[in-house]
């Protein structure tokens, strides 16, 4: 595949201040098609802030984002979604009171418009949901099941399905296995490997070396809001990466 190594997203010298606190300073990041980048770092290293900048939730104080070679300014998560940049949040960002299908399409529901009023096309939501879950081989009883009735792994699967329902090019996952039972971790990692095969660039933020070494091609470490180290996965080891997290090279 010629586009396999295409550069999808690049962050250049991203800096973010919250008042007097510097959360990120001159951070650089690159992600290519079909690649999985692991981002590691201790609590407060700036991982989540970086991801929120990439998803358009925070505006960087300085620096720029480039998507497929063009500089983009993201005003809201909607902007990043429109580019094909999706985020799977640590708290999953699902509404438990709504069914699976409505969660997957939340904010982007297919509608029939009648003047100013936009009526939901429930039939289409159900059809699209079933087709999409089938494609990702995610098993649930029914697309009408409420998310609060699902297990942690199923919720994570729904969150990933949600992020890929609209031809995502880059999917960013914040601690995708943190809240899962051990037997469910494997399924989520399989899902990530499946996504890579379809040419999606995946960024995984994780504390778990097992996850990083199971799915990632490259790993980068943040320390106190700066780029600390980066390597192809084949050129490093668990101990070295754990050292980076603690700020040792």
């Amino acid at each position: 595949m010629s586009s396999a190594n295409q550069l999808l997203l690049e962050a250049k010298n991203v800096t973010k201040y919250f008042g007097t606190i510097t959360a990120l300073e001159n951070v650089n990041l690159k992600i290519h098609a079909g690649e999985c980048l692991g981002v590691v770092g201790d609590n407060g290293a700036g991982k989540t802030t970086l991801m929120k900048v990439l998803s358009g939730l925070y505006k960087p104080s300085a620096g720029s984002l480039h998507f497929e070679g063009k500089e983009k300014v993201l005003e809201s998560p909607r902007d990043s979604q429109n580019l094909g940049l999706e985020m799977v949040y640590q708290d999953l960002a699902l509404a438990g009171n709504l069914p699976i299908g409505e969660n997957i399409f939340l904010g982007r529901e297919p509608t029939t418009n009648l003047g100013l009023l936009k009526f939901l096309d429930y039939k289409k939501i159900k059809e699209l949901t079933e087709a999409h879950l089938g494609k990702l081989r995610i098993n649930v009883k029914s697309a009408d099941q409420k998310v609060e009735e699902l297990s942690g792994g199923q919720r994570q699967a729904v969150a990933i399905a949600r992020s890929t329902a609209f031809n995502a090019k880059v999917v960013i996952m914040d601690e995708p296995t943190a809240a899962l039972a051990i037997k469910e971790v494997g399924k989520v990692l399989d899902l990530i490997n499946g996504l890579k095969k379809t040419g999606v660039g995946v960024i995984v933020i994780s504390h778990r070396m097992d996850d990083i070494f199971a799915v990632c091609d490259r790993v980068m470490a943040l320390f106190q809001g700066t780029n600390f180290a980066e390597s192809e996965l084949s050129n490093t080891s668990r101990d070295e990466v754990i050292g980076w997290i603690m700020g040792k090279k």
Binding site: L57, P77, Q81, L94, A95, G96, L106
Partner: protein, 337 residues
Amino acid sequence: MDSKDQDKDSLYLKLIPYFEKYGILLLLVIMIVVMHFLQPDVFLSWRNVTNVFKQISWQSMLALGVFMVIVTAGIDLSVGSIMMLSLMILAIVAKAGAPWYIVVITPLIAGFLCGLFNGLGITLLRMPHPFIMTLGTLYIFRGTGNLISGGTPISGFTDEVRYLGHGRIDLTWLGLEKSQYLPVSLVLIAIVYIIFWIFMNKTRTGKWIYAIGGNPNAARASGINVNKILVIVYSLCGFLSGIGALILAGRTDSGYPNAGLQSELDAIAACIIGGASFFGGRGTVLGVFAGVMIMGILRNGLNLMDVSSFWQQVLIGSIIVLAVYVDVLRRDFGTRK
């Protein structure tokens, strides 16, 4: 788990959604049957039934507005005051001799603007909780209503202005007697509730209101403009309170300082009895209607039986606690922990 157990379990689980949706209607039907046996001659008579609907007419508007707010996990304590202020503005405009079609829309506009004020206050001033903003406007709106009217009642409206609250639809063409009329307010309740049922269940904005109540962060991350939706919700709540003011003007033929006093609490109670969750995201328009009806029938039935209004208070309070406890039990086996 063997298969027999699983069948039983799944039947149980299948029944839960129906219970969640229609359980409150069951309670309503039981109440109607009990009242009928206690007061067989009076309770289900044409006169009494239309009376119940007339009595709940304006409260049902406030409850519907508060319901939407509660679905977003918010609260609106100011609906009674919005209604009073809208009513006073209506009365002043009517006394000034404005034509009826102007008089009729003033409370709707006034109510809408009051709601907009709440919504903008909550979002722009970033109030830590809607409770605080609407507690403030509870005083502000009622005070303003008293300021502009001098704190005295203003009475006497034309028939057109009173039509929605006091009008009668003659049914003699159906072979019924002259006394067996349909109150216009009953038809209005039906129309407004159907419109808002469609709004909450079939439109995208309605779905987003539920999503915000379910998880505001999820809604925000989905690109939904949460603040805009909240402003819409509080504005609609004010608008419905304005409709309540128009109905009340028709019923009482007067704008008076105590209009809607403490009615915000009745509205909240009706929502809670009807199954709306204070934590947001849960509840149905049908449930609110049932909640309003249950409170209306309880008051009406106890009045018919000459039970003191003090007991009515005790009973309504008990029903609130009981209804929520049933909800707690339901969720215990309905949701995965």
